[in-house]
C-alpha cells in the first residue's frame, strides 16, 4: 500500500511535467528539453519565496506558475518560434537553453561574477520547509500515508481537471486543439496560431513550474535536478500517445507505479531501468502510444 502511494506521487509529478510537455509537443511539434529546467526554476522559486518573502508552499504554487510561464514565453518568443517544423533542431536548441538556465542559477544570474550572492541560489543543494500539517501521516486501509504525498496527488488531479476544462470547455482550448490537428487549416479559419503556440508553451511551462514546487517539498533542490524529469516525462508522453490527455494521465500512472514497485522490490536503479525498458517496448510495438487507437 505504501509502495502504491509512493508510486502515485511519482506518477503525479510525472503527470504534471508530462502534461506540459504533451501540450507543447502535441500542439507545435517541439521537443522542449528545457522543460526539466522549468521544474528546476519552479523549485528555486519556492526556495527564494520561502526564504526571502516568507511565502508558504501553497502561495508558491501560483507564483511558480507565473514565473515559469514567463520563462516559457520568453523562450518561445526568442528561440522556439524560429524552429517550427524542425523537430530535431528544437531538441538541440532547447538543450542549449537548458544549459544556460542551469548555469544562470549556479552563478546567481551573473551577479556571482561580481561577488554578489543571493541566498538560495548557487550550486549548493537547497531544502524547502514543508508546513507542519503536510508533514503528518494519515491512516488509511491500515497503511501510513504521508499527507504530503496525498497533497501532491490531489494537486495533480486538480491540475489535470483544470487542463481538461481549458482544453475542452474554452475558446482557447478549441483553438489549441484545432491548431494541433491541422495548423494551416486552423490558421486559414482565422485562428492566430502563433498566439496559440505562445500561450500553449507558456501554459505547459507553468505546469512544470508547479510540479517543481511540489518536488521541492520532498527532494533537495539543485541546478541540475531537472534533467531526469524531462527524459522521464518525454517517455510518458510518447508511451501514452501524443496529444491525448487521458493517455498521458494513464501512462504516467502506469509508469509511476512500475517504477515504484520495482524500486521497492529491487532498488531505484532497477526501477528506472525497468521503466525505460517498458517504454522502449511500448515505442517499438505501438509507436503511436498505448492509448491511441488510430493515427491521423
Amino acid at each position: 500500500m505504501e509502495t502504491f502511494v509512493i508510486g502515485l506521487s511519482i506518477a503525479s509529478i510525472l503527470f504534471m511535467v508530462a502534461l506540459g510537455l504533451a501540450i507543447i509537443y502535441g500542439t507545435m511539434n517541439v521537443i522542449n528539453l528545457a522543460h526539466g529546467e522549468m521544474v528546476m526554476i519552479g523549485a528555486y522559486t519556492t526556495v527564494l519565496a520561502t526564504k526571502h518573502l516568507g511565502f508558504n508552499i501553497y502561495l508558491c504554487l501560483p507564483l511558480a506558475f507565473l514565473v515559469t510561464a514567463t520563462f516559457g514565453l520568453i523562450i518561445e518568443r526568442t528561440v522556439v518560434r524560429r524552429l517550427y517544423g524542425r523537430l530535431l533542431d528544437t531538441l538541440l536548441a532547447t538543450w542549449g537553453i537548458a544549459l544556460i538556465l542551469q548555469q544562470l542559477i549556479r552563478i546567481h544570474f551573473g551577479l556571482g561574477l561580481f561577488g554578489v550572492e543571493i541566498d538560495g541560489l548557487g550550486s549548493d543543494l537547497q531544502n524547502v520547509p514543508v508546513p507542519a500539517e503536510l508533514q503528518q501521516a494519515i491512516q488509511l486501509f491500515g497503511a501510513n500515508i504521508p499527507v504530503y504525498r496525498a497533497f501532491v496527488f490531489v494537486t495533480a488531479l486538480a491540475l489535470g481537471a483544470i487542463t481538461w476544462l481549458l482544453m475542452f470547455r474554452t475558446r482557447f482550448g478549441s483553438q489549441l486543439r484545432a491548431v494541433s490537428v491541422a495548423r494551416n487549416t486552423a490558421a486559414a479559419c482565422g485562428i492566430n496560431d502563433k498566439r496559440v503556440n505562445m500561450l500553449a508553451f507558456a501554459y505547459g511551462s507553468g505546469l512544470a513550474g508547479i510540479a517543481g514546487v511540489l518536488v521541492s517539498g520532498f527532494k533537495t533542490v539543485s541546478p541540475d535536478m531537472g534533467t531526469p524529469y524531462v527524459v522521464d516525462a518525454f517517455l510518458v508522453v510518447v508511451a501514452g500517445g501524443v496529444g491525448h490527455l487521458l493517455g498521458t494521465f494513464a501512462s504516467a500512472g502506469i509508469l509511476g507505479e512500475v517504477q515504484s514497485f520495482v524500486a521497492t522490490w529491487a532498488n531505484d536503479v532497477y526501477g528506472r531501468t525497468v521503466l525505460f525498458a517498458v517504454v522502449i517496448f511500448i515505442l517499438l510495438f505501438k509507436p503511436q502510444g498505448l492509448f491511441v487507437t488510430k493515427s491521423r
Binding site: 511539434n29 521537443i31 528561440v79 524560429r82 524552429l83 517544423g85 524542425r86 523537430l87 530535431l88 533542431d89 531538441l91 538541440l92 536548441a93 538543450w95 542549449g96 537553453i97 537548458a98 544549459l99 544556460i100 542551469q102 548555469q103 544562470l104 549556479r106 552563478i107 556571482g112 561574477l113 534533467t227 527524459v231 518525454f234 517517455l235 510518447v238 532498488n267 536503479v269 532497477y270 528506472r272 531501468t273 525505460f276 525498458a277 517504454v279 522502449i280 515505442l283 517499438l284 510495438f285 509507436p287
Partner: protein, 386 residues
C-alpha cells in the same frame, strides 16, 4: 577554385596540422589535444549517422563508454597487483569467496577474456557494433524513425549508465576503472603524455576520415543521402532502407567504440560519466557546430568547441560563464548555421558573384545543379520529420 579542390586542400591542410602539432606542444597539451582528437572521432561517428543518413542518435555516449570500458578492463588486468583478481573486486567480494576471476563476485567471469589486451581491443569495437546491431535491428525493422530513434537511443544510454553505476563489484561503480596500465603493443608503450599516444590517435583519426569519406562518397553514401531526404521514396526505388540504416548505425557505433578505446589510452580511466546524456548530446553539438554533413567539419567542430572550452575553464572569470556560452552556441548554431562551419566554408568558396568576376556567370555550379547545402536546409525545413 571549385569546392572540390578547396575541400581536398582543406583535408590535406588539416592532416598536416594534426601531424605537426606535437612538435610545438608540451606534454600537457599533447595529451589535451590527443583527447580532443578522440572527441573528433566521436563527432565523425555522429556525422556519419546523422549527417548522411538522418539518424540522430542521442546514445552515442553508450558506445563510446563501452569502448572505453572494454579496453580499460584489459588494462586493469594488466596491472600486476590486479592479478589474479582486480583490487576493486577484492574490496567488494563476499568474505569467503574464491579468489579467482571465475567467481569472486557475481558476473566476474565476464572479465576472463579481457586478460588478453588484444581481446579488449577487438571487443572495444565489436561489442558496441553488436549492441548497435541489436538495438538498430529492432528499431529499424519496426520502422521507428526520427525523434523516436533519438529518444530510444537516449533511453538505452541512460540504462547503460545506471547499470554500470549500480554494479559496483563488477564495474567499479561510480568511480569507474582507474589506475590502468599503459597500453603496450608488441613491447611498444603508448605514453598518454608523449607523442606515441598522440600519433596513435591522430593516425586513427586520419584513417577513419579517409575510410569514411571513401565509403560515403561512393554508392552507399548516395543511398544514405537518398534515405535521409525521403525514406519512402528510397524504399520505392527498391533500396533496402532498413539494412542501409542498420549498417551505418553499426559503423557509427563502432567508430564511437574505437574513440572510446583511444580515450582510455589517452586519459587512463573509464567512468560512467562517459555514458552521460550530456556527453552524448554534446557530441551531436560538436558535429552540428562543425557541419553535420561534413566529416572534416564535424571533426574541426569537436576540436574548436573542446579547445575553447578548456581555455575558458582555466580562467577564473570565464569558467563560470562557459556553460552559458556553450548553451548559446547550441542555440546560435541551430538557428543561424544549420550547416555549421563547413557550411560557411562552402558558402565562401561558392559565393555568388565570384563566377561573374571570373567571367563565367552562366557556368557557376549553383545554376546547374542544386547545392548540397541548400538541399540539406530544405530537407531540414520541411516538416516531413514531424
Amino acid at each position: 577554385m571549385t569546392y572540390r579542390t578547396a575541400s581536398i586542400i582543406a583535408y590535406i591542410a588539416f592532416f598536416a596540422v594534426v601531424l605537426a602539432l606535437p612538435l610545438v606542444l608540451n606534454s600537457f597539451w599533447t595529451n589535451r589535444v590527443a583527447i580532443y582528437l578522440v572527441y573528433s572521432i566521436c563527432a565523425i561517428g555522429i556525422s556519419m549517422s546523422w549527417g548522411y543518413a538522418g539518424i540522430l542518435s542521442l546514445g552515442q555516449g553508450l558506445f563510446f563508454g563501452m569502448g572505453a570500458y572494454m579496453l580499460a578492463m584489459s588494462l586493469t588486468l594488466a596491472v600486476p597487483e590486479n592479478n589474479p583478481v582486480p583490487q576493486l573486486m577484492l574490496l567488494n567480494m563476499e568474505p569467503n569467496a574464491v579468489r579467482d576471476l571465475c567467481c569472486v563476485t557475481t558476473g566476474s567471469f565476464l572479465w576472463i577474456p579481457f586478460r588478453s589486451v588484444a581481446v579488449g581491443m577487438i571487443a572495444g569495437i565489436v561489442v558496441p557494433c553488436i549492441l548497435a546491431a541489436a538495438i538498430g535491428y529492432v528499431m529499424f525493422k519496426r520502422r521507428t524513425t526520427g525523434v523516436y530513434v533519438s529518444i530510444i537511443t537516449l533511453a538505452f544510454a541512460v540504462i547503460g549508465q545506471l547499470l554500470i553505476i549500480n554494479n559496483q563489484p563488477l564495474t567499479g561503480g561510480f568511480n569507474g576503472l582507474a589506475d590502468l596500465a599503459l597500453l603496450e603493443i608488441g613491447g611498444f608503450e603508448f605514453d598518454p603524455y608523449g607523442p606515441s599516444a598522440y600519433y596513435a590517435v591522430a593516425l586513427t583519426l586520419i584513417a577513419v576520415i579517409l575510410l569514411a569519406r571513401y565509403m560515403l562518397t561512393g554508392r552507399i553514401g548516395q543511398v544514405l543521402k537518398a534515405i535521409r531526404e525521403d525514406e519512402a521514396r528510397a524504399r520505392y526505388l527498391g533500396y533496402d532502407v532498413e539494412n542501409y540504416k542498420l549498417f551505418i548505425f553499426c559503423v557509427s557505433a563502432g567508430v564511437a567504440g574505437l574513440a572510446g578505446m583511444l580515450f582510455t589510452v589517452t586519459s587512463e580511466f573509464a567512468t560512467p560519466s562517459l555514458m552521460a546524456t550530456s556527453l552524448s548530446i554534446s557530441m551531436v553539438i560538436w558535429a552540428a557546430t562543425g557541419g553535420r554533413a561534413s566529416l572534416l567539419g564535424a571533426c574541426i567542430g569537436a576540436l574548436i568547441v573542446n579547445f575553447v572550452g578548456s581555455l575558458a575553464s582555466e580562467s577564473a572569470t570565464f569558467q563560470p560563464v562557459w556553460p552559458i556560452i556553450l548553451g548559446l552556441l547550441f542555440v546560435v548554431v541551430v538557428l543561424f548555421m544549420p550547416n555549421g562551419i563547413a557550411g560557411i566554408f562552402k558558402a565562401f568558396i561558392d559565393r555568388p558573384g565570384k563566377a561573374e568576376r571570373l567571367g563565367g556567370a552562366k557556368l557557376s555550379g549553383k545554376t546547374e545543379r542544386p547545392d548540397k547545402a541548400d538541399l540539406l536546409v530544405k530537407s531540414e525545413l520541411s516538416a516531413r520529420e514531424a
